[in-house]
Symmetry: C2
Subunit: 409 residues, 2 copies
């Protein structure tokens, strides 16, 4: 059987392993993750790898090569609730298939390969994402161990029950000097590659993100008795802001900005909204462009304050800087990809990934795989088998280029 077909079969098998009977949900340190680690671990062993589970529950398979250095390939095995069957899993199984193919090609490697399957990327159970890669990158916050899940189970107890050791999370840490880099394949979770008609794309950076909560305070009033010219309608002010955000984001290349939540008070059909709160999410691969856009958004709030006699406030929720991918690793990925498709789009990842955490200790690169209709975090998430074949070829050729590069040194 060819490797890509095996990846497709294994994705189907993994998709059956869930914490819940009728839908795919695999939360950190839950029963689904235990069975998923067992199954993927058995596949790693079949591929001749030495397998271990670290103190937080990450599954790691090692294919030793010559030299002291290791190249990491991987992604995560946890999912959101009612998930699709590709997000995370695809990257782990592509890494595994890539290593298996290297082994079966009998080529001596000047470095070791490790496949890492992170135990938590989505952060659903403890509302704290990247637990697995944080432990590996040495930036796990021990205070998180006291968090409890919806059932009241402490994270430290969950790790212990899973076979890990919350007191030894330091042992998960990789030494930066041992690593050549971390390369992750992942479904795009967006529509760009489908539109561009490309099986895979190159991630230039994991975009920085600004999250803010914005409030508009006007004056509530009876919808039947207050003439238009005497109104201070907070929802009209919010609408003006929403359109300004959209307009600006359309003007600036690569900028995406979203108002996803909105709440009006007092929220009655016959009362003029006196207050509105909304969420703003702005992302760009260049932090300066994102900051300038946010400055512009704040200026438009100032204009709204003055023109509409509305009080506006901006509460910062989160500021996450952009994480650029390694130019060197990305260049090899590009060379590998261009062997299999005529053009390669480089795009920013708007979603976060384990690679953004791993970048703290080692160069990272990411390969995006086209998905249907940009759909993700949904049972209809779908990737074409043909694209899985291309992604596997690219990953294998990337490793081959790394090998060539090392042999030339």
């Amino acid at each position: 059987m060819d490797f890509a077909a095996q990846v497709v079969e294994r994705l189907a098998a993994l998709g059956q392993i869930s914490d819940e009977p009728s839908r795919l949900t695999r939360l950190f340190a839950g029963p689904g993750m235990r069975r998923a680690n067992e199954l993927v671990g058995s596949w790693m062993e079949q591929a001749g790898m030495s397998v271990r589970q670290d103190a937080i529950g990450n599954l790691i398979g090692r294919h030793p090569g010559d030299g002291a250095k290791t190249l990491l390939l991987g992604s995560h095995l946890d999912t959101v609730r009612d998930a699709g069957r590709f997000d995370g899993m695809l990257g782990v199984l592509l890494a595994l298939a890539c290593v298996d193919r290297c082994r079966q090609s009998n080529r001596a490697l000047p470095f070791s390969l490790e496949v890492i399957a992170f135990a938590d990327e989505e952060g659903v159970r403890y509302q704290s994402a990247y637990l697995g890669s944080r432990a590996v990158a040495g930036c796990f916050d021990p205070r998180d161990l006291a968090r409890t899940d919806a059932a009241g189970v402490k994270m430290s107890d969950a790790i212990r029950a899973f076979g890990g050791d919350p007191a030894r999370l330091e042992s998960c840490r990789f030494n930066a000097e041992d690593l050549l880099g971390y390369v992750e394949a992942h479904i795009e979770q967006g529509p760009v590659l489908e539109r561009a008609n490309q099986a895979v794309g190159l991630v230039a950076a994991i975009a920085g993100q600004t999250r803010a909560r914005i409030e508009f305070r006007g004056a509530a009033g009876h919808a039947g008795t207050v003439p238009m010219n005497l109104r201070r309608d907070a929802l009209c002010a919010a609408a003006a802001f929403i359109l300004e955000v959209e307009k600006r984001a359309r003007q600036i290349s690569g900028l995406i900005a979203t108002v996803g939540q909105i709440a009006a008070e007092p929220h009655a059909s016959n009362v003029i909204p006196g207050a509105v709160t909304l969420s703003l999410d702005a992302r760009h691969q260049d932090d300066q462009v994102r900051q300038e856009a946010c400055d512009h958004f704040r200026q438009s709030l100032n204009s709204i304050e003055q023109n509409r006699q509305i009080q506006c406030s901006w509460q910062s929720i989160q500021e996450t800087p952009s994480v650029p991918c390694s130019p060197e690793l990305s260049d090899l990925l590009r060379q590998a990809a261009l062997k299999h498709q005529p053009e390669l789009t480089a795009l920013a990842s708007g979603a976060g990934h384990d690679a953004a955490i791993m970048a703290r200790i080692t160069p990272v690169a990411m390969l995006f795989v086209r998905c249907r209709a940009g759909l993700s975090h949904h049972p209809d998430e779908s990737v074409r088998p043909d694209d899985i074949l291309v992604a596997l070829d690219v990953l294998f050729d990337f490793v081959s280029l790394m090998v060539q590069q090392h042999e030339q040194l």
Copy 2:
């Protein structure tokens, strides 16, 4: 004591009578209404009136005059939850004081006067407004008797417990041919008179109203992965509509239009809204102007559909035609008012009133009394004693003008 000062005192006393201990709430057929009817009934008796409570709980005091006809003055005694102390009550107590003053002036009347205190205008308890005036105007819907309140009490049982008779609501009905008209004083519940610096204003009509529920369907998507040019953001579409509604309403004299409710789905800060639902409330005293405005709003939905690839739907919730006030009665009210203030603003009532129901059987007129900051349905609702004095003088002079007119016939 002068009559206006007594109205102020009695408003304070009525404001203490509530279904709830710490705030003013007097719902239809509740314990507060029972005590309110008893107290106001005792004041009616002190003013020499014959008092009755009809089968639905309306309180009616009669001051007989010569001739077969009756002029009705009144308003309602029920309130919203956590109400102010003027909405409804002020009109009842002004009517009572006006009749008392007529009696004490010992002038023979060529018609009878009745003060009517409606039992339900706000419709809080059974989500069905104007129960009192509907019974009087003969348009009470008997199916409403099967409605239940939040505690599960059927309306028919509530009426019976209150001392009424749900089987005899037909007896509440007034004969149109016996009536000269219905005149109601009411707080403005808006800011127009305060801005115009006038104690009272004349209601030209009770505005017609369109209520609709409008839905925008686009495509949800990851806020981090879908570029701006590939989005079909339902909230941006809704924002464009909200601003178009505001713009149009500002252009058309007398038109008021409000989006008071808005809900976005799936309502997560990191998800592009795929669907938005909002409420639209549009009012104008001229039904044709309101219809043309709504046609324009629908056209703008068509533009949004085309420009943004968003599906828009308009669900009509309510279409209430405008109720014009009687030109004859209003002219007398105007003459009376201009004796007490140099200018008189005629305005549409955007809020509904018992007068709109009473117009089905008799000519109606309404006098608005200035309130502080347009505030109503709120414990801070406030009317100046000076304005109460003016309103009483106007109402008394209006009755005197009616008397003169009848004597001239």
